[in-house]
């Protein structure tokens, strides 16, 4: 489970020795978060976001369990109970703002975490299962966030629930039956609210379980790193503690500072005003939008406006939106290049940034009303989204000529110190490593 040069846990205290032969939790911590876990020495700050996502989940569970003590999942009083939390419950406003803002932060952190994985090729062998488990977590998060948003039972909650559950009615033949079954009625009502509360409470704990599998799968090969090349020896690693515990704590401090700024000074920045109006099934808000973290997918959903191939536009939209996410499950087999990090893949790297811009365009379109030019723009961006994964990436990974890889992580690190600043790819323009000063010093004993 770890490299052969990992330090071994030696219990020193009497209690430590007692526990080690009965329930060796200290050993588990030492081997997975402590000095017994050698980690690539070159991890940058993008590698903080896994830990940050874990912290974000803990914040959500903690504040959520407390909010659950004051919330009432009944359509008659749900909205009022949220206002009761905001106005009457001691520190209720803070807990609710932490929970609502926390969801946004959780998604922001996870999106950066996924982007990091995409850029450095962390989904490639031997980490495919790790990647797939991460996507399962992402799906669970989306379901949880959607249902949590409905609990407020404001206008946007209600109409968001209407639009999203209506997606299932697009399924041919059995769609309407599934729709009614999911809602427990013919439109979102008390039965819907109750089951959403129950599941919203359950799913974070399921997520927690999958995260444990995710971390387990991570600790088998160990972390990838910005060079994407494998650890070759002890000189390529540092013990997780104190090196990455301190780095993670610093990142956590920055994260919590930003989080506090939004919670205390801009708590409604990311929310929709319409959700402060109680749900009214007889009146639709003029502009139904989901929370920002669903915008890219919402744009893909709405991009289909005409029926073709005997499939109605609505079903196309639903299929496209779900495939946009499911496609990521196939990524390890669509991108077949043996080089992991985009630092050494000039074409793939350009594609990555274009893809990122494409996602941003989809995100902007998803937040706008469904009219021109946003509709046309989201159609083009949706086509590119699928082309990126299904055409461009497989082709590039077959024909691209990668830049020469450094011989080891250590070599790459020491070269970077000689050429201060700038990413490694700029310093490795196929010039042959031997010509670069400092390489002799950097050669590891292999």
């Amino acid at each position: 489970m770890s490299f052969s040069w990992a330090k071994h846990y030696e219990p020193t205290t009497a209690l430590g020795k007692y526990m080690d032969s009965r329930l060796p939790i200290p050993r588990l911590v030492y081997d997975s978060l402590g000095a017994g876990y050698p980690t690539p020495r070159n991890l940058n700050y993008f590698y903080n976001f896994g830990v940050l996502a874990g912290v974000a989940l803990v914040i959500q569970i903690l504040t959520g369990v407390i909010l659950g003590m004051h919330y009432a999942a009944n359509t008659g009083i749900a909205f009022d109970s949220v206002e009761h939390i905001m106005r009457d419950v001691n520190y209720g406003w803070m807990l609710r703002y932490m929970h609502a803002t926390g969801a946004s932060f959780f998604f922001a952190v996870v999106y950066i975490h996924i982007g990091r994985g995409l850029y450095y090729g962390s989904y490639k062998p031997p980490r495919e299962v790790l990647w797939l488990l991460g996507l399962v977590i992402f799906l669970l998060m989306m379901a949880t966030a959607f249902m949590g948003y409905v609990l407020v039972w404001g206008q946007m909650s209600f109409w968001g629930a209407t639009v999203i559950t209506n997606l299932f009615s697009a399924i041919p033949l059995i769609g309407d039956a599934i729709h009614t079954w999911l809602l427990g009625g013919f439109s979102p009502d008390n039965a819907t609210l109750n089951r959403f509360f129950s599941l919203h409470y359950l799913l974070p704990f399921i997520t927690f379980g999958v995260i444990i599998l995710h971390i387990w799968a991570l600790h088998i090969p160990g972390s990838n790193n910005p060079t994407g090349i494998d650890v070759k020896g002890p000189q390529d690693t540092v013990p997780f503690h104190p090196y990455y515990t301190s780095k993670d704590f610093f990142g956590l401090g920055v994260y919590l500072t930003l989080f506090s700024v939004v919670v205390f000074f801009l708590p409604n920045m990311l929310g929709e005003v319409d959700n402060y109006i109680p749900a009214n099934p007889l009146s639709t808000p003029a502009h139904i939008v989901p929370e920002w973290y669903f915008w890219p997918f919402y744009a893909i959903l709405r991009a289909f406006t005409v029926d073709f191939l005997f499939i109605p536009a609505k079903l196309w939209g639903v299929l496209a939106m779900f495939s946009a996410i499911l496609l990521l499950f196939f990524l390890p087999w669509l991108d077949t290049s043996p080089v992991r990090s985009n630092n050494y893949r000039p074409v793939a790297k350009t594609l990555f940034w274009v893809f990122l811009v494409d996602i941003l365009i989809l995100g902007i379109c998803g937040g706008k009303p469904a009219g021109e030019p946003w509709l046309r723009l989201s159609q083009i961006a949706s086509v590119y989204y699928f082309a990126h994964f299904l055409i461009l990436l497989p082709l590039v990974s077959r024909y691209e000529k990668a830049l020469p890889l450094p011989n080891s992580i250590t070599e790459a690190v020491l070269k970077r110190q000689t050429h201060k600043g700038g990413p490694a790819s700029i310093q490795l323009p196929g010039a042959g490593l031997a010509e670069l000063p400092g390489t002799g010093r950097a050669q590891p004993a292999e």
């Binding site: 009614t180 079954w181 427990g184 009625g185 013919f186 099934p281 007889l282 639709t284 139904i288 406006t305």
Partner: protein, 186 residues
């Protein structure tokens, strides 16, 4: 059993064991039992008896004047009941049905002998918004029926889609006249 069983492996020459039957029977019994338990767990999510009890409503139309419409809630969704004026009926009948996106005549969408009563769901067939036009003074769109403010779908006086992104006409729910001024929806 006439077949020869090898005592060392407990198998017939065909590779079957006497225990196979016990295994299969146990597995089948457990699977049937599990399915019997799972069904209630699945079916509890379907609409409950009280929700279904409210699945049909009675509606008194006598107070609705020609040209007026009312909005009622049925199964949590709005229903528009509209008393069409002779001019509106004529306008709806003048349209060439074949030219419509969702070809239906006014007669297809009303009950025989009650051509002036247009009863539809107040749910836009595009993304489920509630169209305007049932309330007094609301925008009825370019075709005098209903107008959805979300994405600009316009419906005519037979609540048929004439403009905008909606794929279908406003849905006509199942309903029946109990008396000339009383209907049961659902």
């Amino acid at each position: 059993m006439a077949t020869q069983i090898d005592p060392s492996t407990d198998m017939t020459p065909a590779g079957e064991r006497r225990r196979d039957f016990i295994y299969i029977a146990t597995g089948a019994f457990a699977a049937a039992g599990a399915a019997a338990v799972v069904w209630p767990l699945v079916d509890q999510m379907a609409p409950s008896a009280d929700v279904l009890a409210l699945a049909s409503i009675d509606l008194d139309l006598s107070a609705i004047q020609p040209g007026q419409a009312i909005k009622v809630s049925w199964r949590g969704k709005p229903v528009f009941a509209r008393n069409l004026t002779p001019a509106e009926i004529e306008a709806a009948n003048k349209v060439d049905v074949k030219s419509l996106r969702d070809p239906q005549s006014l007669a297809d969408r009303t009950k025989p002998g009650h051509a002036n009563w247009l009863v539809t769901l107040g749910v836009c067939t595009h993304l489920g918004c509630v169209p305007l036009g049932a309330g007094e003074g609301e925008n009825r769109g370019d075709f005098g029926g209903y107008f959805c403010p979300c994405h600009g779908s316009a419906y005519d006086t037979a609540a048929r889609v004439r403009k905008g992104p909606a794929p279908k006409n406003l849905e006509v729910p199942q309903y029946a006249f109990k008396s000339p001024t009383q209907i049961t929806i659902g």
